[in-house]
Symmetry: C2
Subunit: 701 residues, 2 copies
């Protein structure tokens, strides 16, 4: 088959996914919510969410336009005319990437907000089966949009610029801009969303649960709507754009490595090696569609089992499909091994996260046990467990990398990343289900629905906590693998090739102090970045606490239930804090690689990338699992262990949970973005770095 | 001058230092303590300390003998007969290194324990001047022993094997064993001591201060003696052996790089480049002696100023001396720049630690402020500040590396490390002063001395907290720099030299998946290591808490002050916990580089080293500064801020302090040891790795 036909087929697959997502979204939007209270609360959440999105997108727009102009302008510099990642073509890709990523987030929000209410009402009127279906369908729209739009933009642009230039090499360079666009939106969505959601959550919890003794999601708490909005913007939009970025990044890196030419079984592949990652992704898109259709065929009763089956169906389809594609197009089983390694590692990493954070795990029980001796021992225990969990995670990831490499060299690392992310359509669907179920529970509480409703939503939500832990593991694992692949692509693009024993080899030498300096600075950045985001949450939560206290003391009617709290004020606090605080981390992520690259050169920038990759992935795993374990330890005690709610052990466990909140939902996930964004930017400036002398070295010449 | 004469001069300098240390120690041991209660308490502490040391040294002895036999036996393998770091000669160096390191620890203990009591009594009878002098003299014995014995062993063995073999190259390889010996003892002293001290401290605090409401250092608390013993074994012996290891490691690495030949100003130096680091160290030893003599000439009233002057005197002497040595022997000012960069970076890093942790700092005030909203916000604030503090620390360190490299290439990095550590004699003296002052205060409390005594000791102690923060920064900075230099030496030793563009270059290529795998595993190890040590503290502290509670409930007379608690039982718990728990981290540190080296090869091992170096130094800085800041935030509140003692803010601040304890005194300092030990082991096995095919690769061939 010709290259173009293959690309058209991939585009066709994405259109199927998008079409199905739109059908489902239309169904959701047409469905009627009858309960007046649910309607009212949903409207508050909707209002708050779109107020945030509007402000956020406005800020992003400025950045986007600025960078697009910069990319276009730089293209006019004569020395850069061969750097296809820069110039008006790359700027177009960049705009499409940002636009599609933003669109996906918007559609996800539309689906999520409406599905919250539908899930709550279905739990009331239809029981577990209907409620589960509503939540799953809401999540599926997010998942199918992510892969549909994500791959449509990428494959469409790749096709377009291949048509125009007649060269896959040129097309491969140009579409890096698409990855940058997706990355930039992801940065703001993840960091802004992460700060938003935790400022609201921590603020609501500390005054509500701890000081005033009212339950979670109590409508008397002024911060409760902000908390629910936060679940949407942080957990749905943030997570979705994070994985969109990984998705695009993994495919882009595999294409970049592939176009350089891959030898498999003595035969040199260039065209097919470049297109193969897109084919795998195309199979993945179809797999997600098929999996969602199958699950929606009947009403399931067991949420855990349902979500697991959905994941396995998709994984099996991709495995089978990639085996066929591998044998047919690359005439060897080896590429299949790399894709399979990626898929399996992705599943394992999720399982490891569950192993350390599920409420039946030894680790979580240990934290609960240590809560009896107070706040400090609870914190120390969670800290230790989060750190320990890095070991198994990294070992599994490294085994995957080793296997992928053994059979396919560097190309294998790119393929493993693509493989892992090929199932992302269903992963996001399952992941987005979590916050929908969580919010449905919140709405049920706020609308004073019958206790049996809360029972259903609680069951849905507790599975959501597990899927969230698995999803977080998956986000980190895929971000690490994607960044690794992008890093390799960067080294190729930066022309770091030297004659080693007579053979041209890509080399970034660590026994070069500039590389070491880059590496150590890179290892430091995730710490700086985390401290900024964690402090932002702390500051914003403090403001939230003061506002809630003020409302309680100004209007005693709120606590009595006779007057309505001012939800909008709390939404405002979270919104402006999130938007203000995401700027500085964003600038650091964007400017660090540029500064190091031009100051110390391409090799030092390589050091920076690998240093930050190593440091950020450890911190991300540590924070996600410590946070998850603290959360479930608290839940375990709330279920009656060691004195249950309001015991001393419970108070200590709440401390751990509160500390874990910004860890697992703000700083941790932001690590994923940091390393991917820095890698993408490096890949783009790589051809420029070849042309200039590093400033630091020119000082001493 | 001939090489031998130069070495003899260095040996002479060490003998002066040792002689002076012995004179001071004799004075201390002869001095009489008159207060019967001080005598009694001192005897408990002494008993506990030596019980621990005896058991610890017995365990270490087994390891030492085992490794010495292994080193000797491996030397008989024909393929390894040119690997001088292995064989009976290296085994001898290893034994001397371990022995001297142990001896230094023992002498430090002798001095520390007696000085505790002397300082307390001097505060009673002589006031600030006499008390400060007693504490400083006690610390000086530790500092002078560290540099005296540390350098005597190294230069003596270097001289011996140079005499025997006639080759500086051979001598340079053989003495790596000396570094291994020092490292191994440091591992046990730091990890074991760190677990000991914090198990006792956390246990004593949680039951004593929090549950029973009795003050710190109250003699009714059964864990109080264990706590005091811990200060000696952790803060004096542990810190001393940590810096002894850095000291030996930095000199060894500089020699290793130097013997390969250094071109300065067009001239090739080999002999002098190898001996030069020893000369700098020799100047440093003399500088420490001179500084101690000057300080002891008169009675000082202001402890802060005194300690600062001591440090500056030593630094200035080394700066002047190294300028002269640089010009005379290496005929250029360039090596001086590297040494100076090391010294200045060392001072700056200490200042940065103080900047983030002193009780007047913005950071500490912020933590105190956040304590008002509870335990969680206190923890989050400390966490953020610890992470932020990595930025400035690493940037300063990297600037130093860049400058040292620019003027002297790789040799400069070794010299910078030697420069930084050349002032270690006085750094250790100042650092050891801290726990002595702290314990003097404890003794004053326990012996119910007059409040004015406690006033003096409190003043001494508060300065001790600052010097501890500075000292910790110095330990980390020097460990990072030393490991970096050892890493470079390793790459040379592992023959990782390839023809790059026709020139022989040492290369560890990160664009090699095996290197990346090594690097990511390396980045993970510090997390695993920290989780083990932190969990050990948690477990041991729990046992301690149970024991203290048991004693309180079994014998109500303890709280009434009518019966004496069973101190020995608590000492036992800490002792056996520390010794049991240090084995596993120890094995991980020793076996990881060996496993990765033989499994994935020398390049992957290089990746492991640099990955762990990057990861561990960030964690170490983060933990040390977070811990220090939490500690002082608590003190700030205790001084009356936000409600003072027993307020809600205070309780939250105590949580932060308790969490910070294992951070700053167990896991954090253990990071230093981990990276140095792994580097030294790698340097030793490097020549072996050249001879074998990595297991993993041979599987697929």
């Amino acid at each position: 088959m010709g290259n173009e036909l293959l690309l058209v087929l991939v585009i066709g697959a994405t259109l199927i996914s998008i079409g199905y997502a739109i059908i489902l979204l239309t169904k959701i939007r047409k469905a009627k919510v009858n309960h007046p209270k649910i309607k009212e609360i949903s409207s508050y959440i909707k209002e708050g969410t779109f107020a945030f999105l509007k402000k956020e997108y406005t800020i992003i727009l400025f950045f986007i336009i600025g960078i697009a102009i910069l990319l276009t302008a730089l293209g006019f510099i004569p020395a850069l005319k061969n750097a296809e990642g820069i110039g008006y073509k790359a700027a177009i890709c960049f705009l499409v990437g940002a636009g599609f990523s933003g669109l996906t987030g918007f559609l996800g929000m539309l689906s999520g907000i409406k599905s919250n209410g539908l899930t709550a009402e279905a739990a009331d009127t239809g029981g577990m089966g209907k409620s589960l279906k509503a939540a799953f369908t809401g999540g599926a729209v997010v998942g199918l949009s992510v892969v549909g739009f994500g791959l449509l933009g990428l494959s469409g642009l790749f096709y377009l610029f291949y048509k125009i230039s007649g060269s896959l090499q040129v097309a491969a360079q140009v579409v890096v801009g698409y990855g940058l666009g997706a990355s930039l939106v992801a940065l703001f969505a993840r960091v802004g969303g992460g700060i938003y959601t935790k400022a609201a959550d921590v603020g609501a919890d500390l005054v509500g649960k701890v000081e005033s003794g009212i339950p979670e999601d109590d409508p008397r708490n002024p911060a409760v709507i902000a908390d629910n909005v936060g679940d949407n913007v942080g957990d749905i939009a943030g997570m979705g754009s994070d994985l969109t970025e990984s998705y695009a990044g993994s495919i882009i890196s595999a294409i970049s490595i592939g176009v350089a030419g891959i030898v498999i079984g003595g035969e040199l592949f260039t065209d097919l090696a470049a297109i193969f990652p897109l084919l795998i992704a195309g199979i993945g898109v179809l797999a997600a569609v098929i999996s969602v259709i199958i699950i929606r065929l009947k009403e399931w009763k067991n949420p855990q089992r349902t979500l697991r089956i959905a994941t396995y169906i998709a994984a099996l389809i991709v495995l089978a499909g990639s085996l066929v594609l591998s044998l047919v197009f690359l005439k060897s089983v080896n590429p299949f091994f790399a894709v399979a390694a990626g898929i399996i590692v992705g599943i394992f990493i999720g399982q490891i996260a569950e192993f350390y954070t599920s409420d039946t795990s030894k680790s979580v029980k240990e934290i609960a046990h240590q809560s009896q001796t107070g706040h400090a021992t609870n914190i120390i225990a969670g800290f230790g467990i989060g750190m320990k969990s890095t070991a198994l995670t990294i070992i599994v990831l490294m085994l995957g990398v080793a296997l992928a490499f053994i059979f396919n060299g560097m190309y294998g690392i790119g393929l493993a990343a693509v493989g892992m992310l090929s199932t992302v359509g269903i992963t996001v669907s399952v992941d987005a289900y979590g916050p929908i179920a969580d919010n449905a529970g919140g709405i049920a509480e706020m609308a004073h629905l019958d206790p049996h409703v809360r029972e259903v939503t609680n069951k849905l939500d507790s599975v959501g906590n597990t899927t969230a832990a698995i999803g977080k593991g998956f986000c980190i694992g895929s971000a690490t693998l994607t960044s690794l692949a992008l890093f390799v692509a960067y080294a190729h693009a930066a022309d770091l090739e030297i004659l080693v024993n007579g053979e041209l080899t890509t080399v970034i030498n660590i026994i070069n102090p500039l590389t070491i300096i880059g590496l150590l600075l890179g290892a430091m950045l995730p710490y700086l970045f985390s401290s900024l985001t964690i402090n932002s949450v702390g500051k914003a939560a403090n403001k939230m606490i003061e506002e809630v206290r003020r409302q309680f003391s100004d209007d005693p009617g709120i606590m009595l239930g006779t007057s309505k709290p001012d939800y909008a004020k709390c939404v405002d606090i979270s919104t402006s804090a999130a938007l203000r605080e995401m700027i500085l981390p964003g600038l650091i992520a964007v400017l660090s690689p540029i500064a190091i690259g031009f100051l110390f050169g391409a090799e030092a920038l390589g050091g920076l990338l690998v240093g930050s990759l190593a440091s950020a992935s450890m911190l991300a795993v540590f924070m996600a699992n410590a946070g998850g374990a603290w959360d479930n330890a608290k839940k375990l005690i709330e279920s009656g262990l060691y004195g249950g709610k309001n015991s001393e052990a419970h108070k200590a466990a709440v401390t751990g949970d509160t500390v874990g909140d910004p860890f697992k939902d703000t700083a941790g996930p932001a690590m994923d973005i940091l390393i991917k964004l820095m890698s993408i930017i490096s890949l783009i400036i790589a051809p420029v770095l070849i042309e200039v002398t590093p400033l630091f070295l020119s000082l001493f010449q």
